[in-house]
Symmetry: C2
Subunit: 228 residues, 2 copies
DNA sequence: CACTTTCCGTAACAAAGTCACAAACCCGGT
DNA sequence: ACCGGGTTTGTGACTTTGTTACGGAAAGTG
């Protein structure tokens, strides 16, 4: 790892300055900078215990998956976001499996779970930060839960399309019906039907694997209350 | 608060022995023993900041509620369980509203949120315990999410009925269709339809506000994979 | 008992999920 | 350019779940 990268890692960790010099060194020497291609899975349920994760560049989606293979995204990670659940082995009370996939080409740091765990057990600022992070993800999941509970699929899809356009910084987004279904925890056919409706109404134009947003306002009105 | 109650509170808090004498005294003097009648709501979304909660006796359900009034239970609290979310004001990253209701006549302690918050900020064991607790509730919620995502309503209802029977320690449980619907996040009519089916199949016998389990094995088979 | 409230049953319809299959599209190889 | 195989989308038929709108039965109250 180069000096430049080290410096940046420190910037990304809010508690870094509060650590002792030995702890800082521990982190520096047990952090890997990694790279993921678009679509690459970096964490698969309980198959591994990767470590504490910091997004340097790019975007990830965290999702759960049922035995039958049905997926739903529970939260997203963007630049500077961090996640504990790829290191669930260091938390004895966590017994769910989460999957993580790069939404685009991404760079991320991984702090060794053993090192982070030990640090957490001995440093109040780190433990506090960990707690804040957990609370933050908790809120994400609760938000998702509320959406599932109370919003109809057309509203959720409209919100999702707007977010994707926002993320990509373009009117046209790269997205198959299958992908949207996985995000929202529904079936591909349901998305197809709604896309057909959205097209008929002139909200979007679609071609294979692409969706172009035509009427932002109409989608916005539909999505009302489902936007973060 | 009598000597006897104080002694018991200490038994319920795993980190108590690790505290300084002044911190112990802080907790002792800022904890109230409270009582709730069956059906009583002890926490309503963001209306209050009750404090850190410890169940002494009884049972609570924590649920979320949509704008339209649709509810779903996200986790339960039993004897010795604790909960942070009635003190969400001390966590800046928590921005969801949770409601809590006594499922039966219950006794519980409430530690003042300010005192708990301060203690947490200064004591590593308390912060660690808080973190464990958060992780534990997180797991509960993720479990609920998976159920919603992948289990059909009949399986979820079967599982719920068996749990209720387990909790009450009896074959006959006190439960209206409305109550079951609120637990599972569905509509009363859906429960009615399924109860009718369960009765026709001879799984249960029902009368107004009561359900008696007749065929435990059949329900168990249905519920397979939806039992905690 | 009459009256009110709560609980349950049900029909009719809408939304969403499942299953099955076919058509359209894209890409690489010839 | 054409062919072939994989991927993506379209669609119909059907099931399950959610919604709306009732009415009636059961329990509680004065």
């Amino acid at each position: 790892m180069t000096q430049k990268e080290e410096t940046m890692l420190e910037d990304y960790l809010p508690f870094f300055e509060e650590l002792s010099e030995t702890d800082k060194e521990q982190i520096r020497s047990h952090t890997r900078l990694m790279h993921a291609e678009k679509g690459e899975m970096i964490h698969k349920g309980n198959e591994d215990c990767l470590g504490f994760l910091i997004v340097k560049k790019g975007q990830f989606r965290s999702y759960i998956i049922s035995e039958e293979g049905k997926e739903i995204t529970v939260y997203r990670l963007f630049e500077r976001d961090m996640c504990l659940f790829a290191a669930s082995c260091i938390f004895r009370n966590i017994d769910f499996d989460i999957w993580m996939e790069a939404k685009e080409e991404s760079d991320y740091w991984v702090i060794d779970p053993g090192v982070y765990g030990k640090l957490m057990e001995t440093s109040l600022p780190v433990m506090k930060y960990t707690n804040d992070l957990m609370a933050s993800r908790f809120s994400d999941v609760m938000w998702t839960m509320e959406q599932i509970l109370s919003k109809s699929m057309d509203k959720r899809l409209a919100a999702f399309l707007m977010e994707e356009a926002e993320n990509e910084g373009a009117e046209e987004i790269t997205l198959t019906h299958e992908m949207a279904a996985r995000e929202l925890g529904t079936a591909r056919e349901v998305i197809s039907r709604m896309m057909k409706y959205f097209q008929q109404e002139g909200f979007v134009a679609a071609s294979r694997g692409k969706v172009r947003i035509l009427d932002k306002n109409a989608l916005y009105e539909l999505a009302e209350g489902s936007l973060r």
